[in-house]
Symmetry: C2
Subunit: 182 residues, 2 copies
């Protein structure tokens, strides 16, 4: 059902609804015979942890067609988003243009797990400054700051330690906070 009068909520993809880092770590651990986990990434990105010469491999995974097909869901995202659609016009907004070959897989992931999100409500971009929304949920502070409206920082391994007035710990917490916005 088309509902144009709801406030628009832009929801990020990687580390917010899609657990891309688990996918990347699994592949990296297999290829380099390591045993890295998200626990090693508190307050860091994977690029802080691996040898510089391995960075192109990480980028390559993310731009390989098919790689993103097996990305796991972030817990509860598939319960929270249908619930939030009753109050918000939800757009999935992913700055995934750095990895153009992942776009068809990302599209399929959204369709498979969030069939209530129509394709019209998907945005793949490079710079979120261009997106107009009333509220956003994103794990990257720079993305939140590039919107002019209220942003919720979704907790992820790499943003632990960053102070933010609207941090949401997980999708259950997000629902509680977003229900009370008038």
């Amino acid at each position: 059902m088309k509902t144009v009068n709801k406030p628009r909520l832009a929801i990020d993809m990687d580390d917010v609804i899609a657990d891309s880092m688990t996918l990347i770590l699994n592949k990296y651990n297999k290829e380099y015979n390591t045993n890295l986990s998200k626990n090693d990434l508190h307050g860091k990105t994977i690029y802080d942890l691996i040898p510089t010469e391995h960075i192109p491999a990480i980028k390559h995974y993310q731009n390989t067609r098919g790689f993103y097909k097996d990305v796991p869901l972030i817990p509860q995202a598939n319960h929270a988003i249908p619930e939030l659609t009753t109050k918000y016009d939800i757009f999935i907004v992913s700055a995934a243009l750095e990895f153009p070959n992942s776009l068809p897989d990302r599209f399929d992931f959204i369709g498979d797990h969030f069939p209530m999100i129509p394709w019209n409500n998907i945005v793949f971009c490079g710079n979120k400054q261009i997106v107009k929304a009333d509220y956003i949920i994103d794990d990257m502070l720079e993305n939140i700051n590039s919107y002019s409206t209220k942003g919720f920082l979704f907790s992820a391994y790499h943003n632990i330690g960053i102070e933010h007035e609207n941090r949401v710990e997980d999708w259950e917490h997000a629902i509680k906070l977003l229900e009370f916005i008038k």
Copy 2:
């Protein structure tokens, strides 16, 4: 060079910088042994012209990986856009999410013909209402009207006959008009 203070100009893709309709007509004519050209499409879309049962074929072409690789340029777009980057922060904004398998090819097309447009300045969406720009150039009136800012209607076969106060006939005309905006 990153220039954040220029006004943002959102430029559409199909029938504005990429001559997608020529590509589609060539494929359709070959498959159905017809001889349709853009001259047959004045004031119409291809869907007005072909039997209803052929519509899925047209949609299928557009969502086939590789199909978009051979899309021709709209004349002068490759000269106009580098010139306009001196005055505008240009984003290519394509509502191409209906055809997700075309996205990697579209990305390559932009990179090949417009290397001055960084990947950060590409947006693939479904609904242009979500895009924030100062000016837009688009061949679809509904897209122009969904932005809140000044839009230029780029002349295309299907929009002949629509009255618009800011119609641009071609890229030479677009440059002339856009140079004079203060």
